[in-house]
Symmetry: none
Subunit: 195 residues, 4 copies
Amino acid sequence: MSPRTDEKNAEIRQESMKRIAEAAFELIARQGFEATTIAQIAQKAGVSKGLLYNYYKSKEDLLEKVVVDSLAGADQTMAGLMTDDAATTLENLCRYYFRELRTKPEQWRILTELTFRIDQFQFIHDIATKKMRGYLDLLESLLNNMGFPDARGEAKLLAALFDGIAIQYLVIRDDYPLDEVEQYMITKYCKRHPQ
Amino acid sequence: MSPRTDEKNAEIRQESMKRIAEAAFELIARQGFEATTIAQIAQKAGVSKGLLYNYYKSKEDLLEKVVVDSLAGADQTMAGLMTDDAATTLENLCRYYFRELRTKPEQWRILTELTFRIDQFQFIHDIATKKMRGYLDLLESLLNNMGFPDARGEAKLLAALFDGIAIQYLVIRDDYPLDEVEQYMITKYCKRHPQ
Amino acid sequence: MSPRTDEKNAEIRQESMKRIAEAAFELIARQGFEATTIAQIAQKAGVSKGLLYNYYKSKEDLLEKVVVDSLAGADQTMAGLMTDDAATTLENLCRYYFRELRTKPEQWRILTELTFRIDQFQFIHDIATKKMRGYLDLLESLLNNMGFPDARGEAKLLAALFDGIAIQYLVIRDDYPLDEVEQYMITKYCKRHPQ
Amino acid sequence: MSPRTDEKNAEIRQESMKRIAEAAFELIARQGFEATTIAQIAQKAGVSKGLLYNYYKSKEDLLEKVVVDSLAGADQTMAGLMTDDAATTLENLCRYYFRELRTKPEQWRILTELTFRIDQFQFIHDIATKKMRGYLDLLESLLNNMGFPDARGEAKLLAALFDGIAIQYLVIRDDYPLDEVEQYMITKYCKRHPQ
DNA sequence: TATGAATGAGTATTCATTCAT
DNA sequence: AATGAATGAATACTCATTCAT
């Protein structure tokens, strides 16, 4: 019960939770939520099923925490991409988005899949709605700064375009010309002066 | 000597299958595939669980048949929207798409969700991939006829845009300005002469 | 309702029952009783499931009738093997038994298997007990006529020997020297004068 | 740091498995394999259905493990009956066989029944075939040592005789003179000098 | 006589969750 | 903090049997 022990405990705790979360995300990304069992997650994380329930209330709670964590990480990274120049910022965001899509397609696949399951997971509804509004506001502000007329309307289309490109790529995958589309988007939205 | 004529039997079968399929699609669309039980489907269809297995090999087989049927119906409807004029055809398709989204959002949601569950529903993924390619070709051909330069590239963005609008609408729902976006799309792609 | 129709009906009836019984025996012999479904039997017999229940009260009733028929056929054949000379009769029976074993091993297999399921099928108990006693009496009488001392005791062993040979052959099958054993039995019991 | 020592866990597991196996064997021996439900076994063993599946992959796996265990036990016991003198060993085996038959007829019945269900329980058939060959070799060796001419042929008949006696006894049961037959077998094969 | 659509009771199996240690 | 034995509710699927026609 000395402070040292408490510290150590907190450390162990963090370590265990991290391993559980990683195992969960990886398995769920590969197999889907219902096809992944608590037993699999515990085994992959190298902990007992019981311990898992010390940290997470339920399987769904685990999913929520994992998803929230994953998105929080993305938010943080995106914050680092902001600059004083709107066009540069937009280009940074754009490149980041395409890089993520290319390097972690399975993670994006599961996140997108979950987005479609709004009615089944309440937390998804809240998160997805908030995220979408946030991105919309960000895009609007950037486009506005860049001098686009009807920045709000354009932002809506741009947001939809990003989502749609992800869908097409995640489904068609190897045959989808992601590089080409990325180039097109950057040229069209970040390099040209708006009319 | 048949106690019931073959036609009568076929009729009865069709009727039962239809009721089962409708019940299944509706429940699955609302609750998702795993959350929907065979018992629920049978009850909603007003038949016994056993009868369901006279017509469908398994729960997954039922899903497949229902999805294929649903998509076949859409194909047929779309075929009727073709005209001699590319711009008119595109406008028809566009209006049809937005009408579907508005009137049957749950169906679109479940179909898209299932498309993403590659490892679990290979057949849906295959169908969806083929459809996506088909739409891409159709859009390219239309845009080409309408005089767009780089019709292929533009078709890709347009396809992504349609998908993206759907996901945004399905998530944000009531707050999403679907009418406005529809108008914008039609104006931009179907009414203006390409540069 | 004319006599002619009744006759015809009876004929049809016989024909249908025969086909059902044959299909049932064949399927049950190959797959076992519980692994064989009424649907399979009906299909193989080319009749409807409903018709089957016009003739047989239940699946178990069908099994009983089929088994009884099969054994009755054997009885009839055996009756034709009787002669005035006990040694000749015994030899005939012996040869018949081995020939059956060789030509219809699957049928014997299922009958033997059923014999072991006394507690599960009441009718099996009755039939098997009666048969065994009948054979015992027959063998005793034959051995007695042939001059064996302690014909009853010897008959008991002989009966057990026949059963045991069947078991060994039906299990080991191809490697079992059935011909050799047959020859041995005939030589030992039918050809030599008892001491 | 384990909340329960590994040994303690192993003990608990062994205990549970034993109770399940015993319950399963007893019920299956009495009612047959398909007539015995998992629920019955679990209840008789005093555990939940779920626990049963912690230890056995399926109902059939449970059957296999139980059968293999049971036969391994018999092997061990028989090994203890071997002596330097062939006649004594044979007599020991003979007495053991009859005692088993008398005290555990249901177990013999079910094991033999299962042996005949080749297509459904391949593993039992394989085990039984191997056992039969093993017994044959053992009998041949013993008879050979005892000076029997044609020990191989005699062994075959003796093996069949044992099997046949079992089936006769299991069917006729109370009316079958098992004691008398046992005496006869011992006198004939173990006490007399071969000619 | 004959059919086959329909039933529903029955069964193996899975898995999130709990809790004694 | 950590374990894993144990639970039991939930669920897909089967199949003998019935009955309207």
